[in-house]
């Protein structure tokens, strides 16, 4: 086995400084990381230390490792022979490589050294020279050593006693309490767990009441329970100390917030899951734990610790999760991931280089000087462009859909010949890809098209896509073949090359400017001679419905953190950003699985920092998280939850106000809708006989605030437009009522009914106005009185005859309607005005036979009715109630006093109409009587 050593020793500059640089070639890393190869390979790290430097050396740039020691003495050469015998511990090798890579690794080196000694499988052979390290150097070494955590030392002492075979025999299910321990030393996770006392058995008692509760009730109960006091700090653990453990948190921990625990646990490399399974190493339990979980714990006999135990665990666990098998597997896995990412990165870089050179050659041969945007150096590109997938394998997530899309496109022209009779996707000419932004829909479409050698025509929201333009531009291109592809085909003889795929991006962005574009596009989907891929965000929009039948629907899902991990690691590696794999999940959660945003975050971070680890990621993800706007339901859920208030509130006041500002229109309404459906946590401890009163008092306070908030709202949205009062409105309308009634929700959060009721009110107001216009000459009253006195009695008078007498009652009803100038429409509207169980007419009118109803309608339509006002225009007729006892003289006067000239022609019309109507009514009256 060849031992790969790449060391460069350069001695003696003009200034008399000796500097040494050393690097480990990538191939070495690769080799080492491959388990079978590493196995017996001896690794000699040849390290030269330059301890002599009177001035800063110039070769710093080339040096990946540079130690600068004391200034007084001559240079010493320290050579470490680090032999990895028989062990698979790639971590060691990798650590070596990674730590050596850093320029400022004096500490790291020391750390590395101690790690070597901490691991039984590595023998460190210090060369003699090492002993002769300058006093300065030595002091520093000691310092760092003492800085190191205690247990490391302890373990180092323990190490020699321990035989490697024993470690090997540790069971893979480290952490299971039922497994007897074989090693007595206490450095595997499992052994440490043994030392931690079990949780108080009272946590495992299931409240019989809880067993029959449904999800909402349970949720309500947990939110009722006292929130963690939060006055306890979790201790600092060693890096990655929970590696390889699968932890489940359940119930409410007495002092520390559960979310905080989860965060800490995953920070130290533990896998935190929500449900208990065979793989679970331990459960951290608090009170009010779910009955299902407790059952599982008992069934599977899983180690169960409480909060205290968790803290102990954090303190006791050695770095990297101890020497247990599970920990090692976890480490191995992590390294495998990293290695893959690096490998991938190298490969890409290689390809990129090749492409660049190829391009350059081509350009040289073409001797054209035109610079294309794609030729820009990578540094100028956005990361999202730079690292956009170029190969199907690089697309994160949605593997099945991508394959489906590929096979569809591949067989498109075959299917075209058979007239799209195939099953599923093969029966469609067009495909609709839908899904949230930033998950690679467009990319996937492009990559698939490219991989099959299609030419892509893309239209997106930046193009006008009206019906007319689509007709002009698309129709012609849909039946064409690609010119570029045609010439390429001469070279490659691939038939696909002449083919075009049309990608319509952002279809749901076809706005009012694109008049008729949607319908036209769906027409094209039916007839297209070219594969058509449509992309949209929200398929459920009404305007997208036209595509339901014409396109095969491919729904893109958000890629999970797992799916994105390797890709992100690759990018990070290529950019030299140190990305802690543990935090990817956190970034994923913060961005709502938006891979584009994560890459953007990374590129932003890379400008200022070299690492992305737990400490800064938390801050980063917090700032990015704010961009996500909460839905009204979530806002209300948070504002009405008991944990949001009190001395250990989850949110402080300004955070609560911000919750309101997530949706300041809906939050107050939703609070109003739901503030009564909680069980306030303030009721706890209230004697049962006072409970009702206390609850009512709380509601009274809340409703008082809500009512007052409406006045503030009026100042904000009314004529005064005092928007500076908005935070005050937030307090009054949402936070204060919430603080009173916060607790567990009984049942689900309801959507506000105010909107519906308000529009209903508007509708009835309008109807009432119409009724008033029609009847006002007769009733001489205003809307309100019409509603309150006339309508209830009119309803009775206009419906009773029909209900009681059937057809014979029709005349009576019609007569009354004509008297009040009511139309049939008004009659229908009137009937809707009944309120209360006795007043509502819909049930009562059911007893009217359909024969009567149709007779009523027929009769109504059979003659024309007196009208006081025509809704449509300004042609207006007089009422027909001119009393007869007035001498004609008045008529003359009246006509003459019509002094407004423009009224004159109308007057004539009026007379005609008037006569007509009077006549007709008289006729009908006759007929009826």
């Amino acid at each position: 086995m060849e031992i790969p050593i790449t060391s460069v020793v350069s001695t003696g500059g003009a200034e008399g400084s000796i500097s040494m640089s050393m690097s480990i070639s990538p191939s070495f890393v690769t080799d080492c990381c491959c388990p079978p190869l590493v196995y017996a390979s001896g690794l000699i790290l040849n390290m030269a230390l330059c301890l002599f430097a009177s001035r800063p050396p110039r070769s710093r740039k080339s040096a990946r490792v540079f130690w600068q020691g004391g200034r007084s003495k001559g240079g010493y050469l320290a050579i470490f022979y680090i032999l990895t015998l028989k062990n698979k511990d790639k971590k060691t090798a990798h650590d070596a490589s990674s730590s050596l890579r850093k320029p400022e690794s004096q500490e790291t080196f020391q750390h590395f050294k101690s790690k070597q000694s901490a691991d039984s499988n590595v023998i460190v052979v210090d060369s003699e020279e090492d002993e002769k390290v300058t006093p300065h150097r030595k002091r520093k070494a000691e310092l760092t050593e003492s800085d190191n955590e205690e247990p490391v030392k302890k373990e180092a002492k323990v190490l020699p006693k321990k035989s490697p075979t024993k470690t090997k025999s540790a069971k893979p299910q480290a952490g299971r309490s039922s497994q007897p321990s074989q090693t007595g030393a206490g450095q595997t996770a499992q052994e440490i767990l043994e030392t931690i006392p079990d949780a108080d058995p009272k946590y495992l008692e299931v409240d019989p009441e809880m067993e029959n509760m449904n999800f909402f009730q349970l949720k309500a109960r947990t939110s009722e329970a006292p929130a963690p006091t939060g006055d306890r700090m979790l201790p600092e653990g060693r890096p990655n100390c929970l590696n390889g453990l699968t932890i489940v948190f359940t119930g409410i921990l007495p002092t520390i917030d559960r979310d905080e625990c989860v965060r800490i646990a995953s920070k130290y490399g533990a896998k935190v899951t929500k449900s208990i399974s065979g793989k679970t190493s331990l459960v951290v339990i608090g009170h009010e734990a779910g009955p299902k979980k407790i059952k599982m714990i008992k069934e599977k006999k899983i180690k169960c610790i409480d909060e205290e135990g968790f803290i102990q665990l954090l303190q006791k666990m050695p770095a990297d999760g101890g020497s247990g098998e599970a920990a090692r597997i976890a480490i191995a896995k992590k390294e495998e991931e990293e290695r893959k990412a690096i490998e991938e990165a190298e490969k890409e870089e290689e390809e990129n280089r090749k492409r660049q050179t190829q391009l350059r050659e081509e350009r040289a041969s073409q001797s054209s000087q035109v610079e294309r945007p794609s030729d820009k150096p990578d540094t100028e590109k956005l990361w999202t462009v730079k690292y956009a997938p170029t190969d199907i394998k690089q697309i994160c997530g949605n593997k099945g859909n991508v394959e489906l899309l590929q096979s569809w496109l591949e067989h498109w022209f075959d299917n075209a010949k058979t007239g799209f009779k195939g099953p599923g996707i093969h029966g469609y000419r067009a495909v609709m890809i839908s899904g949230p932004p930033g998950i690679g829909k467009t990319t996937a479409a492009h990559v698939v098209a490219k991989s099959l050698g299609f030419d892509v025509i893309e239209k997106n929201a930046s193009d006008v896509r009206s019906k007319k333009l689509l007709n002009e531009q698309l129709r012609s291109s849909l039946s064409n073949s690609s010119v570029v592809g045609y010439f390429n085909q001469l070279k490659t003889h691939d038939p696909n090359n002449r083919r075009i795929v049309m990608i319509m991006d952002e279809v749901d962005g076809m706005s009012s400017g694109d008049h008729g574009g949607g319908a036209q596009l769906s027409q094209f989907c039916r007839t297209t001679e070219t594969p058509l891929i449509l992309i949209c965000n929200d398929k459920s929009l009404p305007k997208m419905r036209t595509f339901d039948k014409t396109c095969y629907d491919l729904t893109w899902r958000r890629p999970t953190g797992k799916e994105m991990k390797s890709r992100l690691m690759t990018i990070a590696h290529r950019e030299g950003l140190k990305l802690d794999p543990n935090i990817i999940d956190q970034l994923v959660a913060a961005t709502n699985n938006d891979i584009r945003q994560i890459i953007n975050i990374m590129s932003t971070v890379a400008r200022t920092q070299k690492t992305l680890n737990y400490e800064n990621s938390e801050q980063i993800s917090k700032t990015w998280q704010k961009e996500v706007i909460l839905k009204p339901f979530d806002i209300v859920g948070k504002l009405l939850s008991g944990a949001s208030y009190g001395s250990h509130a989850r949110y402080n006041l300004s955070e609560k106000i911000n919750l309101y500002f997530n949706d300041m229109d809906f939050t107050p309404l939703m609070i109003h809708e739901n503030y009564r459906s909680t069980t306030p946590s303030k009721l706890s401890g209230c004697p049962p006989n006072k409970r009702n009163l206390r609850h009512l008092e709380l509601l009274e306070e809340a409703s008082n605030f809500i009512s007052e908030s409406d006045l503030v709202n009026q100042l904000i949205r009314g004529g005064e437009q005092q928007w500076s009062l908005a935070p005050f409105h937030a307090i009054l309308s949402s936070v204060l009522p919430g603080s009173k009634v916060a607790g567990g929700m009984n049942g689900r959060t309801m959507f506000t009914s105010w909107l519906g009721q308000n529009s209903k009110k508007m509708k009835y107001d309008r109807i009432l106005q119409d009724l008033q216009y029609h009847s006002s000459t007769k009733t001489m009253t205003n809307n309100q009185e019409l509603r309150l006195t006339y309508i209830p009695f009119l309803i009775k008078m206009l419906s009773d005859p029909l209900i009681k007498n059937g057809t014979s009652g029709i005349d009576q009803v019609l007569e009354l309607m004509d008297e009040y100038y009511l139309t049939k429409e008004d009659w229908d509207n009137l009937m809707e005005f009944g309120v209360g169980p006795k007043g509502r007419m819909d049930q009562k009118l059911k007893s009217v036979s359909s024969a009567t109803k149709s007779a009523f309608t027929r009769k109504y339509n059979s003659y024309s009715h007196p009208t006081v006002i025509y809704k449509t225009g300004d042609s207006v007729t007089k009422g027909n109630r001119a009393p007869a006892f007035k001498p004609d003289l008045d008529d003359v006067i009246e006509d003459d006093t019509k002094d407004v000239p423009e009224d004159e022609p109308q007057e004539e019309q009026d007379d005609i109409k008037n006569d007509k109507l009077i006549k007709k009514v008289k006729q009908s009256t006759k007929r009826r009587k």
Binding site: H672, R676, N692, L693, L696, S703, N704, I706, S707, E708, L711, N713, Q714, G718, S753, W754, Q757, Y764, S776, T777, T779, M780, T781, N782, N783, Q784, E785, L788, T789, Y790, P792, F793, K796, M797, D800, Q812, E815, L816, E819, Y820, F833, G834, V835, G836, V868, D874, V876, K878, G879, A882, P883, K886, L889, I893, E894, D896, T897, D899, V900, D910
Partner: protein
Amino acid sequence: MSLWADKYRPRTLSELTFHPRISKQLQVMASSGEFPHLLVYGPPGAGKKTRVLATLREIYGAGTERLRVDVKTFNLPSGRKLEFNVISSSFHLEITPSDMGNNDRIVIQDLLKEIGQTESLDFSRFENAVMSPNTREENSGKKKFKVVIINEAELLTRDAQAALRRTMEKYSASIRLILICNSTSNIIDPIKSRTLPIRIASPTTSACAGVLEMILKKEPHAKKAFPDDNEQRNIIFNRITHASERNLRMSIMMMEAMYMNHDTVSITTPIIKPDWADVLHELATGICKDRSVSRLQQARSILYELLAHAIPAKLLLKKLTMTIWDFTGTLDIENKSEVRKAVISASSIYDERLSLGSKDIFHLEGFITKVMVILEKHVIN
């Protein structure tokens, strides 16, 4: 066949049966030719509009009863068009600017100016000269102006009222305004000072009974259904008047409904109330009896139903308060007067909020919850 309330509406001032002093005053004003702007106010069903129309008839004659409805179109500054209905005869106009909500100012400005700037031509002088040369000319004087009746004047916005005050003076030569409203509390002082306020109170119980009796006299069929005995009839009338809260219109309606529903009406015949009043009564008693969170939830849906069906929130609050007031009499309560005081104070607070705010349900619920707490604290179980 109209409803009795409309059928037997008095048309002239002399036909009016109650408030004789006001009728007399109006008559004098109408005949004198010196007709001021009027502010007629009083509770619903007291006969405000009837009196005003009778006065108009007194001034102009029966021509005022030839009514028609015009649709006027107004252009808002924003370019929107508004349609507005105007009831008019040749002598007067009747408008309800509050129909236009916040745009009532435009109606007041445009419409009143338009009418005010056009003098009415008066041919009566020539006619009189032709017909009866000896008639004195004083008759013509009273026809120089047009009357504009403004309904629901208390709902006019501040802007509209401000627009009104100058118009009233500037065009006083050609128009007279009659503002009709339920209460003057919302009317700005400058307008009050420019008008002659006339309060039309609700008729007394006996006046009400008199009107009802008169109607029965004219409806011989109906009279048969009612008991012959004057005493018994009076008891029925009193019950009706009480139930309608001396709203004469409502009383007549109720009487007619009783007659329609029952062949014979006796003193025990149940009075038919409007449906919304029944619902409201049930709601109020429910609140008093069962003071619980679930009742509050029920109350919300009932309130929503009433509000959506165009029952005004202020009326709801008033009726609820009155019913609860009555109900506290039947409850076993520690300190009755304190409780009543608390209820009234809560009611007035929320009444103000109803005026200032826009979401009625918030305030009504606040009131109901408050009442529940007050009662729950004091009721002895």
